[in-house]
């Protein structure tokens, strides 16, 4: 037993990496389809969007970069499909330089989505009237305050350099207060600024999809209802995909949902590793104490 304890407690970290790799790889190749249910904080964000009147404008801020695609981009896809299916209009932007191209790709892929029959899923959508992607603008809080005054002043041109003041959507929607909802999809600390500089100031409800790293720190905002909903990490995105019915829309298991089996497998391994390592750690401590008493 002492030998086994020595092996376990001095295990090469590369063995642990290998086991984690296997735990991720196997469920992706052979999905287990473990069940999961949407949590209250995700349901509330979803229900808020569902409750909006058709034609209402949702502002989506794509404040994430390529490193958090599994957690944030999956959410962006689900949210855009929900908005377009509900005939909500979307103004999207980003306050993160690395998010500029991702936001553009997300908007284009969702708006021009081709279904299984080969037809456009949302054939009536028109750029500039039903959706617009403003792109990146530096200055975070200054931009939030600026769109509180005027979208077209803050973003005279969109991501593709088109003049925003000539777009039909901005004849009706001049500033942030005209939007019915803000959804921040963030991998950085911007949701806290969206609360102070946009949502509370302009009285527009806000929900957030953040990376799992940030989720714990944002629960106070959800508890105080400053965040109407909180979609944390890939798990939250998978729950949102389930609520939106993404599998039926895109005709395959969506990415975040597909990753949940692997996530569960790795978590199970980590929990077991912590328990086993601690058992052997306690055993080794006892053994050393016993040896000390004998000598």
């Amino acid at each position: 037993m002492q030998k086994l304890a020595n092996i376990i407690l001095n295990l090469d970290r590369r063995v642990i990496y290998l086991i984690v790799f296997i735990c991720v790889l196997v469920p992706l190749l052979k999905p287990l389809e473990l069940p999961f249910e949407p949590t209250q904080e995700v349901k509330e964000a979803f229900n808020d969007i569902e409750a909006l009147e058709p034609g209402s404008v949702v502002l989506i801020s794509c404040d994430f970069g390529p490193s958090t695609i599994p957690e944030n981009y999956t959410m962006l896809e689900a949210l855009l499909h929900q908005c377009f299916r509900r005939h909500l209009r979307v103004i999207a932007m980003t306050l993160v330089p690395a998010g500029a191209a991702l936001g553009s790709r997300g908007m284009r892929e969702a708006a021009e989505f081709i279904d299984a029959s080969g037809a456009r899923l949302y054939p009536d959508l028109e750029y500039g009237s039903d959706y617009v992607y403003l792109g990146y603008k530096p200055g975070s809080t200054a931009v939030m305050l600026s769109i509180g005054q005027s979208f077209t002043d803050a973003f005279p041109r969109d991501h593709e350099n088109r003049v925003t003041s000539q777009m039909p959507i901005f004849r009706e929607i001049t500033a942030l207060a005209d939007c019915k909802y803000i959804f921040d999809i963030a991998s950085v600390g911007l949701p806290e600024y969206w609360v102070s500089y946009a949502s509370e100031r302009e009285n527009v409800p806000l929900s957030v999809n953040c990376t799992a790293v940030s989720a714990a720190q944002y629960y106070p905002y959800y508890a105080s209802r400053q965040f109407r909903g909180l979609v944390g990490g890939m798990k939250g995105a998978a729950e949102y995909e389930k609520l939106v019915g993404m599998e039926a829309i895109i005709g395959r298991i969506p990415d975040a949902t597909k990753g949940m089996d692997a996530q569960s497998a790795v978590h199970l391994f980590i929990v077991l590793a912590i328990i086993i390592a601690n058992i052997f750690y306690i055993m080794q401590g006892r053994q050393e104490r016993r040896e000390g008493e004998v000598s």
């Binding site: 590369r14 990496y17 984690v20 991720v24 790889l25 992706l28 190749l29 490193s67 958090t68 695609i69 599994p70 957690e71 330089p97 690395a98 500029a100 792109g135 990146y136 603008k137 530096p138 809080t141 200054a142 305050l145 005279p156 041109r157 003049v163 003041s165 806290e192 609360v195 102070s196 500089y197 949502s199 509370e200 100031r201 990376t211 799992a212 790293v213 940030s214 989720a215 714990a216 720190q217 106070p220 905002y221 508890a223 105080s224 209802r225 400053q226 944390g232 990490g233 890939m234 798990k235 990415d255 597909k258 990753g259 692997a262 996530q263 790795v266 978590h267 980590i270």
Partner: protein, 215 residues
């Protein structure tokens, strides 16, 4: 699939393996991948900043105004103030940057203080001191929250020695902090695993699929 997309996928896969090789041990291939990433990130960042900030906010309104709009000459003031910050590299003229920084700090403080107090501090305070309820579950939750806030604040109160009653309250505060750290760490593990899953999904569904032409 276009050739550029195919090439992009293969380069991304190669870079993924180069970075993963660090898990075995530090090596030249990993270093190469790291440097390629840094170079590209810097170049990409510079382009984004130039076109979205310098060009659209400073150059375009002065040189290429929108149809029907006059050149915005007032922009020269912030451009000059911005140049003062860059001029710090000349020690003899570095003092000029103080005017820019003074304006920047004063302006930001003026914007931040009321927004942070009204938008974050007060609503959080109100939520913390909210009514006990609804029901006994809500009452217990609120009591646990209040106790946690009180004990944690006492733990961070350093004007009194942490002995006796203050010490005991501080220890309860430490327990709350530990629970918060545990939750944050659990979430962090989940986040990092998500990123690994994302890379594996890319390798399996995009990179490998290019080998048998399924996409």
């Amino acid at each position: 699939m276009s050739l550029s997309t195919l090439l992009g996928i293969w380069v991304a896969a190669a870079l993924t393996f180069m970075i993963f090789s660090f898990l075995y041990k530090d090596n030249a291939v990993y270093k190469l991948g790291e440097h390629v990433f840094l170079g590209i990130a810097l170049g990409y960042g510079w382009c984004i900043y130039y076109w979205n900030d310098i060009f659209s906010n400073a150059i375009a309104p002065l040189v290429y105004p929108l149809e029907g709009q006059a050149r915005n000459w007032t922009l020269i003031i912030p451009i000059v103030l911005g140049a003062f910050i860059l001029i710090r590299v000349v020690p003899r003229l570095a003092w000029l940057s103080r005017y820019s920084f003074a304006l920047l700090i004063a302006g930001y403080a003026g914007l931040a203080v009321p927004n942070e107090i009204a938008g974050r501090f007060l609503p959080q305070l109100v939520a913390t001191m909210g009514p006990f309820g609804p029901g006994w579950v809500g009452a217990v939750t609120q009591a646990v929250l209040l106790l946690g806030v009180f004990c944690t604040v006492v733990f961070f109160f350093f004007s009194l020695e942490h002995r006796g009653l203050v010490g005991k309250i501080g220890r309860v505060g430490v327990l709350y902090i530990m629970v918060a750290f545990g939750a944050a760490f659990g979430y962090t593990v989940m986040a990092r695993v998500s990123l690994l899953i994302g890379r594996f999904q890319f390798l399996i569904y995009e990179w490998i699929s290019t080998m048998h032409g399924s996409s």
